[in-house]
Symmetry: C2
Subunit: 360 residues, 2 copies
């Protein structure tokens, strides 16, 4: 069964991902629906808790659309938590007051690891309902991005039981029991692929894999564990829906050294953090993939003139898009909760104006 | 005036830094004198506090030598705090219970920045006394490394007033008031150079600059701020003492993408974290510098067989040292306080044994 949605009015973002010509450089922001917006904080207060917000399709739709009502962004991204999949696997996601996400039942021993199963997608129906509702309410304004954490990034939380400074537990398992780690990553890869495919079926027009903690791995371990499991996700991922291409983006924060390898796993675009020089990244990957990034989020705490200057540097570093190349402007990581919303307006205007000029 | 010390019995580390032939790959560990050792914790308990330990040359000497009594390491490194220099500038270093370092008087405004002066080296005499005392008590066993934080890394603490997740204050100053940031970095560079030169005069046989937070900077900002100020330190640094070369090492954690540029600022060696592939690093810098690194510190939580296998991978990745190349084995970052000391013994033995084999 296929749901019918309004035709897309602004497909600039999708064209950039597919390295087709665009009139300007499209942009969206990682975590664009979030705490830096007073209207988000108001909705969250009504929802009572973060999970109350994320698990309710009405609220998720409301906050997903909020940044688009403020700024002429070129894509929406599903509002959801990165840990919905392990939660649906039965690990018991919760948020302690003022702390990050935690799991009640982390994977602490062989028995727990071997008992791990792919989740019943029915338990994630609230996510797919949100995707469909957001896509309908977008009414074709801009494309909707679905997303998931990478198999490795999910494994970090699943084994550590929460955030970590040094990833001691999960990396010790990786070094000592690579068989157990690969079991988790295989299970996660199949789950992530099924999860993203269901988001595509529900209406997502592009998908992104966030490998937030891939950069914590040593060279060698990264390729063997995080990258290999993302390649497996890509292998199982739908590439089109009803005859329309669904572009994909992979983003390993801190993965700039592995750019060539990341560009080779079958995604249409690679996300880059702010440590990467876009000109040399473009040189390294040629026209194999589009690039997404990479303004330092802290630039948004500077004055308007400085924001415009730093936006110009990023756009000029990528250079004039040629036939076959694609650039999606973004931050190099999620927007800070302390960002003044007016700074986002300055940045969005600057990206659109300056990038049109570069094409002139 | 020059102090007379015992002749060096093991100069393997210094020869590797100068890219001279060695019989095996020398090693030491960042933070080798530290909390993972019960004897360190005992000394610290006697000293009463971390600063009580770091500011007392007797205690500093005692803990500097502790890891050498346990393991046949190839270098000692001065035990001190990374923030002694800004403390001597009058910022008021203190440690709150269970937290990291903090400053009572961080650089929060233009007035504070413009009032910043190089410290009176006399107020750092306790550091130089420790260097001389350690060097004397080493009695030529292995060389003694002096060190400092990089100008940028010191600036991070000086502006933030402590540690930070996002370096929002210091980077906002960098983007909005680059003139103020450069004033801090110029002052820090001159101070760091004078501080390292005084350590060399006091007996340090090699020096290392820790650019712990350089990797938080965006491409472009890194070169303009952190790297440029380290180049200035190198320009002002003594290269020999009493006719003996004093090799230098620079280490930007997360700086692998900028390796060629780091290798060009005049240091003898470049430290690498575990995300960097040693073989490709060696290819990128040729024989311009020696390389130091880069085992993931979490490997030391694995079983002996795994530790040995990962040590072998690092050594084999660098490959057989040829004439003109140099490798110093180290971790890719400081050793974790939770590391089992027995794991360090396994690693040290493996580095020495396997690297001899590679030369055979």
């Amino acid at each position: 069964m296929s749901i019918s949605f309004a035709p897309l009015k602004n497909d600039t973002f999708l064209r950039a991902l597919l390295r087709q010509p665009t009139e300007y450089t499209p942009l969206w922001l990682m975590r664009q629906a979030g705490r830096y917006l007073p209207e988000y904080r108001a909705t969250r207060a009504r929802a009572g808790s973060f999970l109350g917000l994320a698990k309710n399709p009405d609220y998720a739709t409301e906050v997903t659309l909020q940044p688009l009502d403020r700024f002429p962004l070129d894509a929406a991204i599903l509002f959801s938590d990165i840990l919905t999949v392990p939660d649906a696997m039965g690990l018991g996601l919760y948020f302690a007051d003022g702390e990050g996400p935690k799991f009640e039942r982390p994977l602490r021993d062989e028995k727990a690891v071997l008992a791990l199963r792919e989740p019943d997608l029915a338990s994630l129906q609230y996510v797919f309902d949100a995707v469909t509702q957001i896509r309908a309410e977008l009414n074709g304004r801009v494309p909707l991005i679905g997303f998931s954490g990478s198999p490795w990034t999910l494994a970090c939380y699943m084994v550590e039981g929460g955030g970590s400074d040094d990833f001691r537990s999960v990396k010790t398992m990786l070094y000592n029991r690579p068989d157990l780690m690969q079991h988790i990553l295989r299970t996660n890869a199949a789950s992530v692929a099924a999860y993203l495919n269901a988001q595509i079926d529900a209406g997502a027009q592009a998908v992104m894999i966030f490998d937030t903690w891939g950069g914590a791995l040593a060279d060698g371990a990264y390729q063997q564990f995080s990258l290999a499991s993302m390649r497996e996700v890509m292998r199982q991922l739908k590439r089109e829906k009803d005859g329309v291409r669904i572009p994909s983006i992979v983003f390993t924060k801190g993965g700039g050294l592995w750019l060539e390898e990341i560009a080779g796993i079958g995604a249409d675009a690679v996300g880059l953090d702010w440590t990467v020089n876009l000109a040399s990244a473009r040189q390294r990957v040629g026209d194999r993939v589009a690039l997404q990034g990479n303004l330092d989020p802290v630039v948004l705490f500077a004055d308007p003139g400085q924001i415009q200057a730093e936006v110009a540097k990023v756009l000029e570093s990528f250079g004039k898009p040629q036939a076959g190349s694609g650039h999606v402007f973004n931050l190099g990581h999620g927007i800070s909760q302390f960002t003044p919303p007016d700074s986002v307006a300055v940045m969005v205007e600057a990206v659109h104006r300056i990038s049109r000029g570069l094409r002139g």
